[in-house]
């Protein structure tokens, strides 16, 4: 079966849970005090969606504002971006806006963006109203997910949605083999089994 290989990046303020979300999804692991990311990590997972399969190459970046210049190296040829904020931290939500702006002006034109309101297991400490977040994302025409890297809530669904939106946005290029996947382009190749998705059978 044809596999679409694509690069996605995680973006967002420091300590919102970028690494934790990626790790939960790819390895089903959660560490309360995940070591802080200075540069970037790389994880990969093959996702089965009804239309086909997508190899998500996840580039997990460091969050601090000062490293923006470095982060830009990672999102440059990305097909998808996951912008994460922490529902218990108002400032991290404000950063989402600036990331969206930056991606719209600097990243590839058809980049798929989803937003994750992470740490939804800490509902009591919530600082961002859910309706506010949803309304904001609706205006931006971006899907919003409530996630918890700790419990796993919403994580699978979010990555699946990201994978299928990327598939839809790029299926025109599928079949034009030989393009360079590393630069975020599409290749057709045999299905590789690295970290197989499949907790939910993949097709739902």
């Amino acid at each position: 079966m044809a596999t679409m290989e694509c690069k996605i990046v995680t973006l967002g303020e420091g300590r919102v849970g970028k690494t934790s979300l990626a790790l939960k999804y790819v390895k089903n692991e959660f560490h309360k005090d995940e070591i802080s990311t200075v540069n970037a990590n790389y994880l990969t997972k093959l996702v089965q969606i009804p239309q086909g399969s997508v190899q998500l190459n996840i580039w997990d970046t460091a969050g601090q504002e000062r490293f923006r210049a470095i982060a830009s190296n990672y999102y440059r040829q990305a097909k998808g971006a996951l912008i994460v904020y922490d529902i218990t931290d108002r400032k991290s939500f404000d950063k989402v806006v600036s990331w969206i702006k930056e991606l719209k002006s600097q990243a590839e034109k058809n980049i798929v963006i989803v937003v994750a309101g992470n740490k939804c297991d800490m509902e009591k400490e919530r600082q961002i109203n859910r309706p506010e977040a949803l309304e904001f994302c609706r205006k931006m025409q971006i899907r919003h997910f409530d996630t918890s890297a700790k419990s796993g809530n919403g994580v699978e669904e979010m990555f699946m949605e990201l994978a299928s939106q990327i598939f839809e946005a790029n299926k025109g290029e599928l079949g034009q083999s030989g393009r360079n996947s590393r630069r975020g382009k599409i290749t057709v190749e045999k299905t590789k089994h690295r970290e197989n998705s499949g907790k939910k059978g993949g097709c739902c």
């Binding site: 300590r15 005090d33 200075v38 190296n73």
Partner: protein, 296 residues
């Protein structure tokens, strides 16, 4: 060919006419506290061979000359108390995420975490233009493994000011850009095939950024960060460039066979192990390397 030998020569300790400082000699050196009286060759060899762990903290203070700073500044505690609330919150987020597996920093709000928090707060008020930036936490954590809180603070200040490392953490990270550029130039000159391969695979020099930001302190080989800091305090930033460059050169055969993702992971993770070999001067197969090199 000449090039490769030249680079390696600096790391292969063949010359035994400069003996390593014994522990007793180090004690005397620390007592004298005059770095300019040391024989540079003996100092280099001694640092490459590893300084005695029990004296490491004092040797860092000596090499960074941080006691001078301490003597001529406001009391440390004033800086700890002068930190902005907003910055304090930012620091707090990273405290539990710095060396979470090390005994010293394991317990929440324990001794190690409290010292680290205080030092980072103090630094942010000492140097309010820079404040706090990720990466500093690992440097401070490592200093704390060998030094008391206050000495660790002044040694950190010395690294940031005397060695100008604060430019690395400034807005737009100007020094980081400069160092990565120097690394690129050096690599292009010393090992063009590795340079070309990284380039054609689309690997940016930023993959090496964290090595500068943390002196390799986030790597799996715990000894590495400590040894890099030894060398850095002694010989300066060029040493880090040389270490990375030489490690890349030594691993070039492997590197040339790697594709993008693997190559990225290799540069970001595995290279550390080779860097440790480089620092320790464990390059024993120089001839073998040269043979390989001719074959390429």
């Amino acid at each position: 060919m000449a090039d490769i030998c030249q680079i390696l020569e600096e790391y292969v300790i063949l010359d035994h006419q400069f003996p390593v400082f014994s522990k007793n000699e180090w004690v005397t050196i620390l007592k004298d506290n005059d770095i300019f009286r040391l024989c540079p060759n003996r100092l280099r060899i001694s640092v490459c061979n590893g300084i005695p762990s029990s004296l490491r903290g004092d040797i860092w203070v000596f090499l960074s000359r941080s006691s001078h700073l301490q003597a001529s500044s406001k009391p440390y505690q004033e800086y700890v108390n002068g930190c902005d609330d907003c910055v304090e919150k930012m620091i707090l987020k990273d405290i539990g995420r710095t060396f979470p597996h090390e005994l010293l920093f394991k317990s929440f709000c324990g001794f190690g975490q409290t010292c680290m928090f205080n030092i980072l707060k103090a630094y942010a008020s000492y140097d309010s233009d820079i404040g706090y930036c990720q990466g500093m936490n690992f440097i401070v954590g490592t200093l704390l493994m060998y030094l008391s809180e206050e000495k660790a603070f002044w040694t950190f200040v010395s690294i940031m000011f005397e060695k100008n490392w604060r430019e690395l953490f400034k807005e737009e990270t100007p020094k980081l850009t400069k160092l990565l550029h120097s690394l690129k130039i050096k690599l292009k000159e010393k090992c063009p095939e590795v340079y070309n391969h990284l380039k054609s695979e689309g690997i940016e020099m930023t993959v090496f950024a964290k090595y500068f930001l943390t002196f390799f302190m986030c790597e799996q080989e715990k000894e590495l960060g400590v040894r890099v800091l030894d060398s850095f305090l002694c010989f300066g930033e060029n040493e880090i460039l040389e270490i990375i460059n030489t490690a890349l050169l030594l691993e070039r055969k492997k590197i040339l066979g790697l594709k993008y993702e693997e190559l990225f992971m290799f540069c970001a993770k595995e290279l550390g192990k080779r860097c440790l070999d480089v620092i320790k001067g464990n390059i024993i197969h120089v001839n073998e390397i040269d043979d390989d090199y001719t074959m390429l």
